[in-house]
């Protein structure tokens, strides 16, 4: 009381409400500054995100389009079937006989078919083009495609078929604006004449850019044919791993959290467990990779590079996240709900499963999906258990070798050919799309379950 009157006495006179006092002015200024800091922080975040997206989309979107070259090829029996195997009765024998002509033998077919085209071009817009150069514009995967086709359809030998071959990566990149005439001049793997020919072929409609499903679903390709590389194996591998994480980590994680949160007595043992779970969540993921290597591969002798081992390692890594999220969700349910259930004579388990768990569901789902998303984007532990290998065959089960999406990104970026930069960014876009979808699902599920009564 006395200090109030004293300070009142200290004032020079009655102050008006209309006049802003010094204190108020300083306070308001401080508040304005703080708001600006906040806006600045948000702004930096947004700019960073925009830069990231712009750079990834800018270099990656083009990976979904690929240049194809139309070539009419006469399947010359003299080359593809020197022994007239196609006339044999037994299809297996036909196949065996046809297989004797190696992929290498098909290359002249392509070159031969392009002979006329090359002469025409050499007379016109691309004077330096030769049949060899023109054939080199076709991907080195083309003979393989051709051979696979012949092996599958031996009855068409001797006929002329129109093929869409992948264009060589350099040509593809040129048409996407990533290879310029200047850079081509320094590049031993592309000739300026080829670029001129590409322009002409594009005009003629013999070359075109199409949406490239092979990138999304096709297998990886070797280092000198980036145009054929796809991420299909990685997609399947990641899908298997997510499935394993979902099936193993979610029941274990949710079960463990329910027990710890609702049933376990609070004593030093549970305290230690709790601290350790929190610590595990902060352990670098590569450590889990080492653990997986030691336990699952070296000790349990599970197949190396398999989605099973990858999934198990990711499960270990995701468990703490799921447990922490689930416990937080359970903790946020007011005790009054438990009291209410116990008060009408429900058992502890009934109280938890009838009332607490449904209410905690949105939180648990969100936590779980965020844990899954984290697992989906994890690279380091997979490197250690051999999932970094080059795999061209689609895995048929969880024990077959596979790679994961992020590892595929890592693989692409590791390769020398600049065309893989586009591939890597494309793979990142696919990965991001999956993460966004998972987060959307999390949000939708939360909305669905969050019936705020």
């Amino acid at each position: 009381m006395s200090d109030i009157s004293a300070s009142a006495a200290g004032l020079p006179g009655k102050s008006s409400l209309y006049a802003e006092s010094d204190r108020t002015r300083r306070r308001n200024a401080a508040e304005k500054r703080f708001r600006l800091y906040g806006l600045g922080a948000v702004g930096i975040g947004v700019i960073a995100l925009v830069c990231l997206l712009a750079s990834i989309l800018g270099s990656g979107l083009s990976a979904f389009q690929q240049t194809y070259l139309k070539v009419e090829i006469y399947l010359d029996p003299a080359i593809v079937d020197p022994n007239d195997a196609r006339l044999m009765e037994d299809p297996d024998a036909v196949r065996a006989e046809l297989s004797k002509v190696l992929t290498f033998g098909y290359a002249p077919l392509i070159q031969g078919s392009l002979q006329a085209q090359a002469e025409e071009l050499a007379a016109g817009p691309a004077p330096e083009i030769t049949p060899q150069l023109l054939a080199a514009m076709v991907s080195s995967a083309a003979p393989t495609t051709l051979r696979d086709y012949v092996l599958a359809n031996p009855e068409e030998i001797g006929e002329t078929i129109e093929f869409d071959f992948l264009a060589n990566a350099r040509i593809d990149q040129y048409l996407k604006g990533k290879v310029t005439r200047e850079s081509a001049a320094l590049d031993s793997r592309v000739d300026v004449a080829q670029l001129n020919a590409a322009d002409e072929l594009l005009d003629l409609g013999q070359m075109e850019k199409r949406f490239n499903w092979d990138f999304v679903f096709g297998p990886d390709a070797s280092e000198n044919r980036p145009e054929a590389a796809g991420i299909g194996v990685a997609l399947i591998g990641s899908a298997y791993m997510m499935l394993i994480v979902l099936v193993i980590a979610v029941p274990i994680g949710v079960g463990a959290s329910i027990y710890l949160e609702e049933f376990a007595r609070k004593n030093w043992l549970t305290d230690i467990i709790e601290v350790n779970i929190s610590n595990l969540a902060a352990v670098p993921s590569i450590v889990f990779g080492i653990l997986g290597l030691a336990v699952f591969i070296n000790f349990m002798h599970l197949p190396i590079s398999s989605p099973l081992v990858g999934g198990l390692v990711l499960t270990l890594m995701t468990l703490p996240t799921i447990i922490i999220a689930t416990r937080a969700a359970l903790k946020s349910i007011p005790p009054s709900i438990r009291d209410a259930a116990l008060g009408v004579g429900a058992s502890k388990m009934q109280a938890v499963f009838h009332h607490v768990l449904p209410l905690a569901m949105p939180g648990i789902l969100t936590g779980t999906i965020i844990g899954l998303a984290q697992a989906l984007g994890e690279t380091a532990p997979l490197l250690l258990i051999g999932m970094v290998a080059f795999v061209r065959d689609y895995p048929e089960g969880i024990l077959d070798p596979a790679v994961g999406l992020p590892v595929q990104v890592y693989n692409f970026t590791n390769r020398a050919d600049p065309a893989f930069v586009e591939r890597a960014s494309g793979a990142i876009i696919v990965l991001l799309v999956f993460l966004v979808i998972m987060n959307l699902v999390a949000i939708i599920l939360r909305r669905r379950f969050e019936r705020r009564w």
Binding site: R265, K266, N267, P334, S336, I337, R338, D339, A340, A341, L342, G343, V344, G345, A346, S347, K348, Q350, H354, H355, L359, R451, R452, W453
Partner: protein, 265 residues
């Protein structure tokens, strides 16, 4: 003090429903309830009053073993419900809580429909054999909770959408749905406005005809209004237990007097 009750507060000597004998409660190392012995009559409203932290809620929660859910809580002595010790090893607390219902400080309906709120207890205790019986129980309970007329047209509406007073009466209806013999109420009106409080108090007075009601309250006026017997707790001790009219006009213990006249907190 017979002269104090020429009015309706006629108190017959009723049966003893709950008898506590030298009950001690410990929270870890702290002694929360010290040697409390009390006899709670059937068909009577007994109020527990006392300053915060005096142990009245703790003692109330002993009466249906709600304290069991707290790990560090330990109860000694015995509490007899109709002569049976509820802390006996053979007693299952879940079964006990069906007999001794509880209503809490904050109205805490389940986030479900009004119907499901009331039906939950009977369902888990298997009190109804079919839907018709369950409907009957729900209606009866809501009527006893004095809320039937307000909600009969919207039994499917969420219980949490009701007003505070209605929610609390719904909780009381939920508590009586399991056919308890004793109703414990832990500050049932502390979150309610005066009108809702009056409605709940009126309900408590009606419930007295069938149940033994024990109510913990911070409002001494409320204790005076609804109870026939009042127990005053202070620092874990039961200081005074007697007829409400006597406690509020002429308490025996000076601590009681200090508390109810507002001289100690």
């Amino acid at each position: 003090m017979d002269d104090m009750r020429i009015t309706e507060r006629h108190l017959d000597q009723k049966d003893i429903k709950i008898k506590a004998d030298n009950v001690q409660v410990f929270y870890g190392s702290s002694h929360a309830i010290k040697d409390v012995s009390v006899e709670i009559q059937d068909k009577t409203v007994t109020a527990f009053i006392g300053p915060s932290g005096c142990g009245k809620s703790t003692f109330l929660r002993c009466l249906n073993r709600m304290n069991d859910t707290i790990d560090i809580c330990r109860v000694e002595g015995q509490i007899l419900l109709d002569g049976e010790n509820i802390y006996d090893k053979k007693v299952d607390p879940v079964q006990l809580r069906a007999k001794v219902g509880m209503v809490f400080q904050k109205p805490n309906p389940f986030p479900k429909s009004i119907y499901d709120n009331v039906a939950y207890g009977p369902r888990i205790h298997g009190l109804a054999r079919n839907k018709a019986e369950l409907d009957e129980i729900v209606e009866k309970s809501l009527r006893r909770g004095a809320i039937w007329d307000e909600v009969k047209d919207r039994l499917d509406a969420p219980g949490t959408g009701l007003s505070g007073g209605q929610q609390q009466r719904l909780c009381i209806a939920r508590a009586v749905a399991t056919e308890p013999e004793v109703l414990l109420m832990d500050e049932p009106c502390s979150a309610l406005d005066p009108i809702a409080t009056a409605q709940v108090e009126e309900l408590i007075d009606e419930l007295r005809e069938q149940y033994s009601v024990v109510i913990v309250t911070h409002s001494m006026q409320q204790a005076a209004r609804v109870s026939q017997k009042t127990a005053f707790f202070h620092l874990g001790n039961l200081v005074e237990f007697g007829e409400t009219g006597q406690i509020f006009t002429n308490p025996v213990d000076s601590r009681t007097e200090s508390y109810i006249t507002g001289r100690i907190g």
